[in-house]
């Protein structure tokens, strides 16, 4: 990863984030959001997050040892812990530690 790439990437990410925050102040200072906007607002963020779960595991080699088992177990742990305690930090830490133990100890040929 070159320094130029990181610096440019940070600038782009910063501008893209800022754009999402300034946009309504530029365009909707007077108008009210319509039903289509509300529809997108309701469901798009959830759909993005679900797709990001798949994006995060898209390069896992499911056809060879350990067949994506650590990832699947990690996701199930995150899901169950969050359904149980509804504490985001607890769910993330438990799932990550489970996954780290799986790839470092249980399936160590994975490394």
């Amino acid at each position: 990863m070159s320094d130029t790439y990181i610096v440019l990437a940070i600038i782009i990410a910063a501008l893209a984030t800022y754009a999402t925050r300034i946009l309504p102040f530029l365009f909707f200072a007077k108008a009210q959001p319509g039903p289509l906007m509300r529809h997108i607002e309701f469901f798009m963020p959830m759909m993005i997050m679900v797709i990001l779960v798949f994006y995060a595991i898209k390069d896992v080699p499911f056809g060879e040892h350990p067949y994506g088992i650590p990832e699947l177990i990690g996701i199930v742990v995150a899901f169950l812990m969050h359904a149980w305690r509804k504490n985001a930090l607890f769910s993330i830490i438990t799932a990550t530690v489970t996954y780290m133990v799986l790839v470092q100890v249980v399936f160590d040929s994975y490394m």
Partner: protein, 222 residues
């Protein structure tokens, strides 16, 4: 309102931002990203999930266009926070620019639930936003430092991202529980992973999701 009272207001955010910032810093360090870049990201981007996504994109050497589009789409929800802050931020002068920049999920929640007399608003809002950002930056720096100082096998720590996305999916679903968009997203994600070329999977899947969400609006709201 005294500064002590303002700090007290922001303690719940501190409890969340310092550990999450540390996770971000640790992850950056484990990817051999120097601490000052983690610092600049928290200073100039200031978006939780957005910064984690950025790290993932950096690691896969995503193009700048992809980084721009993916970050924009992921953070698009902030637009809806801005929409409901338009009247609250009116006539706040220069403070407004920083307040808009710092409008994260948690800052929005705090500003929205704090009632303030108008003459103190600019000062209190700015303090709340600045305190929140300082917790985030502090957490990032601690995490980046820990990652560089403590010799530890961090293999697998990047899974915190996957777990974060699972947790946020559940949180967002709970806000507007509707099985049809969820089924669509699961289908798009799964088939996108299998069918789309790996390096374009995110952009194609997100565009498809946006298209179907709008195109199938009638069916979804049945």
């Amino acid at each position: 309102m005294r500064i002590g009272e303002i700090i007290k207001l922001t303690i719940p955010v501190m409890m969340g931002y310092i550990p999450l910032g540390m996770a971000f810093g640790l992850l950056a360090a484990s990817m051999a990203i120097p601490w000052y870049y983690a610092f600049f990201m928290s200073l100039f981007i200031f978006a939780g999930a957005g910064q984690f996504l950025a790290l993932t994109l950096f690691a896969t050497q995503a193009t700048l266009l992809e980084i721009g589009i993916a970050t924009f789409l992921l953070n698009l929800r902030h637009s809806f926070y801005g929409l409901s802050m338009i009247s609250a931020f009116k006539d706040l002068g220069k403070a407004k620019h920083y307040l808009i920049f710092g409008l994260t999920d948690e800052t929005f929640a705090l500003l929205k639930t704090t009632t303030i007399t108008s003459d103190e608003k600019a000062r209190i809002y700015t303090w709340i936003t600045a305190l929140n950002q300082s917790y985030w930056i502090l957490g990032s720096l601690i995490g980046a430092a820990l990652g560089n100082i403590i010799p530890f096998n961090y293999t697998g720590i990047e899974f915190s991202l996957t777990a974060l996305f699972v947790v946020l999916s559940m949180e967002l679903y709970r806000k507007h529980p509707s099985p049809k968009p969820l089924m669509l997203a699961l289908l798009i994600g799964l088939s996108g992973m299998v069918i789309f070329p790996s390096d374009k999977m995110l952009i194609l899947s997100l565009s498809l999701a946006a298209g179907l969400l709008i195109g199938l609006r009638g069916w979804i709201n049945e």
